[in-house]
Amino acid sequence: MWSTGTATQQTSQTGRRTVADPFFAGLTRAAATVILLALAGVAAFLCSEAWPAVTAPSDRIAGGDGLVAYLWPLVFGTLLAAALALAISAPLAIGVALFISHFAPRRLALLISYVVDLLAAVPSVVYGLWGIFYLAPKLSHIYSWLADHVGWLPLFAGPASVTGRTILTAGVVLAVMTLPVISALSREVFLQTPRLQEEAALALGATRWEMIRMAVLPQGRSGVVSATMLGLGRALGETMAVALVLSASGLVTFNLISTDNPSTIAANIALQFPEATGIQVNTLVASGLALFVITFVVNFAARGLVARSSKSEGS
C-alpha cells in the first residue's frame, strides 16, 4: 500500500498530500490547543465562580467574618495534615526505595515494585474506609497513652479523642497514600546511579551502606526532593480519605490528638458542596482556587528541581 508504482498513483498521492498532511498536523495541533484552553478554562471558571465570594460583604460568608477568616483555618489544616503525612512517609518511602533498588534480591524487588505501584492506584475512598473503621480505633489507644505520658508536649496535649478521628490519623492515612508515590519516583532515581560509580566505591572496599552514601544518595538527592514534593502535592489535594477520617471542628490548633481538629480545604469542599447553595458555592469554589494555587506552587517547585537536576546531569 506504500508503493508508488504508477504515475497516476503518484499524482493521486501528491494530491492527497496537500490535504491529508496539513489536516493531520492541524488535528494534532487542535488537540494540543484544547489542552491549553482547558487549563485556561480551569483558571478562568474558578476565578469567575469564586469572584462573588471575594466581593461579598463579610457577614454573608459562612462564619460571618469574611473570606480570609473562613479560609485561614482550612489552609492551616491542609498544610498541617500534609506536613504530618510527609514527616511519616518521606523517610519510610526513601527506605522502601533503597530496599527495592539496592537491598532486595532482583526478582523480589521487581515483585515489590509492582505491588507498590498497584497501591498507588487504590482509590482514596477505600483508604478512607480503612482509616475510619480499622486504623482510627487502633490509633485511639495509642493516643490515650500519648496523652497520659507525653501530654506535656503541646502536640499531644489531649484530651485524647475516643474515636481516633484526629488530624494525626488523617496524616497517617495520607502518609500511607503518598508513600507509593514517593517511593516509586525515588526508586527510579536511585536506579539511575551510574553503575561504574557504585562498582568503584565497592572496589575501594566500601560497605554497601558506604557505597549508597557516597554514590547513590548524592546522585539522587534532587530527585528525592522533587518526589517528596510531588507526594506533598498529592497529600494537599487528597479529598475523600480526609473527609471520611477527620472529624473536624475548624479550630486552628497544633494539638494533634484531641477532638478539636482543623479541616482541610479539599475535605471541606467534599463535605459542604452537595448541600451548598448560592454564596456558599462561591465560597467553596474560592477555597478550591486557593488549593489550586498552593498545589500549583508545590508542583512548579518540584518540576523546577527536576529540570535543574537533569540539566546538570546532562552537562
Binding site: 488537540a31 530496599f99 505501584d117 475512598v125 560497605t207 469554589v285 488549593l291
Partner: protein
C-alpha cells in the same frame, strides 16, 4: 561529574577495616543463625510472660535480631561493618513498616467486603430500599458510562497531543504544552470537579448535576496521564522506522498513523488502562459533578448519576437505620473498586510484559 569532584575516601582507616571484613566473609550464614536465635529468644520471653500478640512477637524478635547482629558485627568486623548492618536493618524495617498498613488495608477490605457479594448485590439498584438488601447495579452502570465518556473525551485529545509533541511540536507552543501537562498532573481531583461544575453551570444553570459533567472532570485528570504515557512510548519508536517509511515515499501522516502509532500501540494501550484505573476510583470530582441517586440513570446528559466510589462514600455517610447493611454495602463496593483497579493494573502490566517493543529490534 560527581566522581571527579568527590574527595578521596579516608584511606588510612580502610586497610584494617577491610582486613577485618575479609576475615569473616565466609560466615554469610550468620544472619540466618542470629535470626533463628532471636526468634527462639522472643518466643521464649513471650511464652514465659504469657503475652500473646503476633505483632508484638514479630517486633520483639526483630528488635532482638537487630541488637544481636549489630553487636556481633561490631565485635567481629569493626565499626564500619556494624554501621552497614544498622543501615540494612533500618532500610528493611522501613520496608516492613510500609508494607504493614498496605497489607492490612487489603485484608480489611476483603474481610469486610466479601460477605456483601451475592447476585442480588450486583443486579439491583438502591431504589426504594430501606435497611438490608439493595445493590450497586445503578452505581456500576454509572461508573461504566462516566468512565467510558471520560475515556472517549480524553484518549483522542491526549493521544493527538502526544503525537503533536513528538512529531510536530517545536517552539513555544510545544514548550507551553509540556509545562501545562505537568501542571495538570498536579491538579487536585476536587478542583477538577469544581471546574466541571463551574463549566456546566454556565450551560444548565445553578445546581446542575449530570454524568457528562463528571466525565469532563475525570478527563481533566486523565488527559495528562494519557499524554505522558503516549509521549514516552512514541519517543521509544526508533527513528530508523520513520526514515524507512519516508524513504519509501510514505507521507508523514501515514507514517505516523501506520508505522509510529502501530509500533507504539501496546505501550499506549497500557498507559490508557493505567489512566482508566486511576480515574475509576475518583470520588471527589464525581461527588460535586455527578451527584448521587438511588435509581439507575443511563442518560449521562441529565440528572444525577450514581458511581461506585460515590456510592461507597454515601453508604458510609448515610448508612440508614440500622447502619449495618449500609456499612456492608460500603465495604462491598470498596472491594469491587479494589478488584477493578487491580485487574486493570494487572492487564496493563501484562500488556507491557508481552507486547513491549524490544529496544534493539
Amino acid at each position: 561529574m560527581a566522581t571527579q569532584t568527590e574527595p578521596p575516601p579516608a584511606t588510612d582507616v580502610w586497610p584494617t577495616a577491610s582486613r577485618g571484613s575479609s576475615r569473616v566473609r565466609h560466615s554469610h550464614h550468620a544472619p540466618t543463625v542470629i535470626l533463628g536465635a532471636s526468634a527462639v529468644l522472643a518466643a521464649g520471653v513471650l511464652g514465659l510472660s504469657g503475652w500473646v500478640d503476633p505483632v508484638g512477637a514479630v517486633a520483639l524478635g526483630w528488635l532482638t535480631f537487630a541488637i544481636l547482629s549489630t553487636a556481633l558485627t561490631a565485635t567481629l568486623r569493626g565499626r564500619r561493618a556494624a554501621k552497614n548492618n544498622v543501615a540494612t536493618i533500618l532500610v528493611t524495617s522501613a520496608f516492613a513498616l510500609a508494607i504493614l498498613p498496605l497489607a492490612s488495608l487489603m485484608w480489611v477490605v476483603i474481610e469486610h467486603g466479601a460477605p456483601a457479594f451475592n447476585a442480588h448485590f450486583f443486579t439491583y439498584s438502591m431504589r426504594s430500599v430501606v435497611g438490608a438488601g439493595g445493590g450497586i447495579y445503578h452505581a456500576i452502570i454509572g461508573t461504566l458510562y462516566v468512565t467510558a465518556a471520560a475515556a472517549v473525551i480524553s484518549v483522542p485529545i491526549g493521544l493527538l497531543s502526544a503525537v503533536y509533541l513528538v512529531e510536530y511540536g517545536r517552539g513555544p507552543m510545544a514548550k507551553a504544552l509540556t509545562f501545562l501537562v505537568d501542571v495538570m498532573t498536579g491538579i487536585p481531583s476536587i478542583v477538577a470537579g469544581l471546574f466541571a461544575y463551574a463549566l456546566f453551570v454556565l450551560f444548565w444553570g445553578e445546581g446542575t448535576r449530570s454524568g457528562i459533567a463528571g466525565a469532563v472532570a475525570l478527563s481533566l485528570l486523565m488527559i495528562p496521564i494519557v499524554v505522558r504515557a503516549s509521549e514516552e512510548m512514541l519517543k521509544l519508536v526508533p527513528h530508523e522506522l520513520r526514515e524507512g517509511a519516508y524513504a519509501l515515499g510514505v507521507r508523514k501522516w501515514r507514517t505516523v498513523v501506520q508505522v509510529v502509532l502501530r509500533t507504539a500501540a501496546p505501550g499506549i494501550i497500557t498507559g490508557i488502562m493505567l489512566a482508566v484505573a486511576r480515574v475509576v476510583g475518583e470520588t471527589a470530582p464525581l461527588l460535586v459533578t455527578a451527584g448521587y441517586t438511588d435509581s439507575t440513570n443511563s442518560d449521562i446528559f441529565s440528572r444525577q448519576m450514581m458511581t461506585l466510589p460515590v456510592f461507597a462514600y454515601q453508604s458510609f455517610k448515610s448508612p440508614g437505620v440500622p447502619p449495618e447493611p449500609g456499612y456492608e454495602r460500603a465495604w462491598g463496593t470498596a472491594l469491587v473498586l479494589l478488584i477493578i483497579v487491580m485487574v486493570l493494573n494487572l492487564i496493563a502490566r501484562l500488556c507491557t510484559y508481552f507486547f513491549a517493543p524490544k529496544p534493539n529490534r
